[in-house]
């Protein structure tokens, strides 16, 4: 390889990818971060507030993007996707394609970091919840946009909001058997935000059980319940029906053993976190394997390594919250740096 400065291609510019690109560049290597969208930030840029500290994700993202832009060794390729990759013995020749013009060029990657993120399951198969039937039934990311509007003082104030968790998660009959891990916390955040913007609104969270495993997480949910007065109802709703132009959620409160009905203006569904279809394609390109769902399968004993020169971070491996995406991005970068230094 001679004295040429080694280069890592980072695919996906969410928090995990940005963090990886920053650290690789700061260690003296080149990084090329490839983002299919016109803007950096991934899913994080869509979010309003965060847990467990109610911080503005925009602030975090702006800082990280500034840091990335100030790295001379980092180049940013927006509106770009990876079209193909071929092994050149010691790494990959990666063909990049500009989304709008279709123009392609080739770069050499001595290592790759996959950070393609996750997406939400198509929940229209849950006809009982009326997604795609009633416009007021939205999924969690759509609701983040509504929350942002409300935060700016725009949009129609709601009288009631119901959040339904585990839509497609832990459901072996129609959805996925796994727990999507982040929904308990972001649902608590969303419920808490509605109460912050509209203290008189009635907010219900329907849950099987809430899983708040993390530093300050349990305290966060308790705050939402006890100080912000969000009603947590233990039970999976059976139906969402339309009644006089509003939405009626019919469920069983399994703690009191009785059927309950609440009438709200918006129903928010927390869908299962699923891998992007492109993740499987990219994994194949770079010699990595995916699990039965399409999340990247880690190598034994290295949770961020996918194949000899391919590492991964963030939601393409499984659902992650923002701090964990940053941690994994840094860990993937550490692996790339170590690999480059050893050669």
């Amino acid at each position: 390889m001679g004295n040429r400065t080694k280069t890592a291609v980072v695919i996906g510019a969410g928090p995990a990818g940005i963090e990886a690109a920053i650290r690789i560049s700061q260690a003296g290597f080149n990084s090329i971060i490839v983002e299919k969208e016109p803007e950096l930030g991934g899913t994080l840029k869509q979010l309003c507030s965060s847990f467990p500290r109610w911080e503005d994700p925009r602030e975090l993202l702006d800082r990280k993007i500034l840091e990335l832009q100030s790295c001379p060794a980092a180049s940013i390729r927006k509106n770009t996707v990876v079209a193909e990759a071929t092994s050149n013995g010691s790494g990959y020749v990666v063909k990049l394609s500009e989304v709008r013009t279709g123009k392609t060029d080739e770069v050499i990657a001595d290592a790759v970091v996959l950070a393609t993120g996750f997406e939400l399951m198509d929940i229209s198969i849950y006809g009982e919840y009326g997604y795609g039937i009633y416009p007021e039934v939205v999924h969690a990311l759509e609701f983040e946009a509504t929350l942002k509007e409300w935060k700016r003082g725009k949009g129609k104030p709601p009288k009631g909001v119901a959040i339904i968790k585990c839509v497609g998660s832990r459901d072996r009959s129609k959805g996925n058997p796994y727990c999507s891990k982040i929904c308990c916390m972001y649902s608590a955040k969303q419920a808490g935000l509605v109460k912050e913007f509209f203290p008189d609104a009635k907010v219900y969270v329907f849950y099987m059980d809430y899983r708040a495993a993390g530093r300050q997480y349990e305290e966060f949910v308790r705050e939402v319940i006890e100080q912000r007065h969000v009603r947590y109802v233990r039970g999976r709703p059976a139906k969402v029906l339309c009644e006089d132009g509003r939405l009626l959620v019919r469920a069983e409160d399994t703690l009191i053993g009785l059927p309950v009905e609440v009438v709200v203006d918006i129903v928010v569904l927390a869908p299962a976190v699923v891998p992007r279809p492109s993740t499987r394609r990219l994994a194949e390109m770079f010699g990595a394997s995916t699990d039965e769902y399409g999340f990247i399968e880690p190598e034994p004993f290295n949770p961020v390594q996918a194949s000899a020169r391919t590492f991964f971070a963030g939601g393409c491996g499984f659902a992650v919250e923002t701090p964990l995406a940053l941690q994994q991005g840094a860990a993937a970068a550490a692996n790339v740096i170590a690999l480059f230094n050893l050669e």
């Binding site: 198969i125 006809g127 039937i133």
Partner: protein, 317 residues
């Protein structure tokens, strides 16, 4: 990862069958003989021959629901009935969600547990039957939906302006795999109504269960089921429903026969006729009214027939 829950009708029934084994239903054929007639006539109109066999018995679902006997009995009954169908080299078409659900599930158990299949064949083998697992189980509603366009073409009594609402029945829409529509928000009956010129009504409680199994099967307590049915019928009334269709004689009994009792309990005056979807299709396809057996209904159809311009004389004749 798993079989698809909702499939296209062409996947469910690839080729329109020439002959089918029509599985008679005890509740259907005794409570509402018109349903069986309507199914047979509709099959005839669609060019499908219905084969029946007096040797066929009840699906034995009742025995399971009411825990009247060990499930092994129902497995043997299913093996026997399906052995009869298998000998004729046909598939089974039921016109009762209960028959459909029980036969499908019991056959699934037989075919996935060799010990149960041996046990069942051991029992029915003494009578000269043997089940090997060939026949597939369908409900006639699936064939109706598969042949929606043909039905639409053959309509001679358009149901113009009739406000019809569906009652789907749990034993079909709550199934896990291979059904024709999203069990959480099914619309395929409504599509059939529209294909016959009727106006489908999506009333609020259209997906509420009929309560038949709970009210008559498990508890035999009217007070368990009547509040539930009241809610359903009230919602249908408020939405201006003129006729409800079912695809399960059990549902039909619950929704039709209980109306006078509910009216007494709640001081209401519900009189929403409830008929089988096949009867509605038979009506639209021009079957003689007498053959449709509406006289078996507790809540009479008169208003509906008048609205369609079918006089009383025709109705009696």
């Amino acid at each position: 990862m798993q079989e698809a829950r909702v499939i296209r009708p062409e996947e469910r029934i690839r080729d329109i069958p020439e002959r089918v084994f029509l599985f008679r239903s005890c509740t259907g054929s005794i409570e509402y003989p018109g349903t069986e007639n309507a199914v047979k006539e509709t099959l005839k109109a669609l060019g499908v021959e219905a084969v029946m066999d007096p040797d066929q018995t009840c699906c034995s679902g009742y025995l399971l629901t009411c825990s009247a006997h060990k499930p092994e009995l129902s497995l043997a009954v299913t093996a026997r009935n399906l052995a009869i169908v298998e000998k004729k080299d046909l598939d089974v078409y039921t016109f009762c969600n209960g028959c459909f659900g029980y036969i499908s599930e019991l056959a699934h158990i037989l075919l996935h547990n060799p010990a149960y299949l041996d046990m069942a064949n051991g029992v029915v083998g003494k009578l000269g039957y043997k089940f090997e697992g060939k026949p597939k189980v369908f409900h006639v509603q699936e064939l109706w939906y598969r042949m929606k366009d043909t039905i639409s073409d053959k309509v001679v009594r358009p149901l113009a302006g009739l406000r019809v609402a569906a009652h789907n029945g749990c034993h079909y829409v709550a199934r896990q795999y291979g059904i024709l529509d999203d069990g959480g928000y099914p619309t395929f009956h409504e599509e059939l109504f529209a294909a016959m010129g009727a106006e489908p009504v999506f009333y609020k409680e259209r997906q509420l269960c009929c309560g038949y199994a709970v009210g008559r099967g498990f508890t035999h307590k009217e007070e368990m089921v009547q509040p539930h049915l009241y809610k359903k019928l009230k919602s249908a009334e408020q939405a201006g429903v003129e006729l409800i269709t079912t695809v399960c004689p059990g549902c039909n009994v619950a929704l039709d026969r209980e109306q006078p009792n509910i009216n007494r309990r709640y001081g209401e005056a519900f009189k929403i006729p409830v008929i089988d979807l096949s009867q509605l299709i038979g009506l639209a396809l021009g079957m003689p009214i007498r053959k449709l057996g509406f006289a078996a209904n507790t809540t009479p159809l008169n208003g509906v027939l008048e609205k369609l311009g079918i006089g009383k004389e025709t109705a009696d004749g």
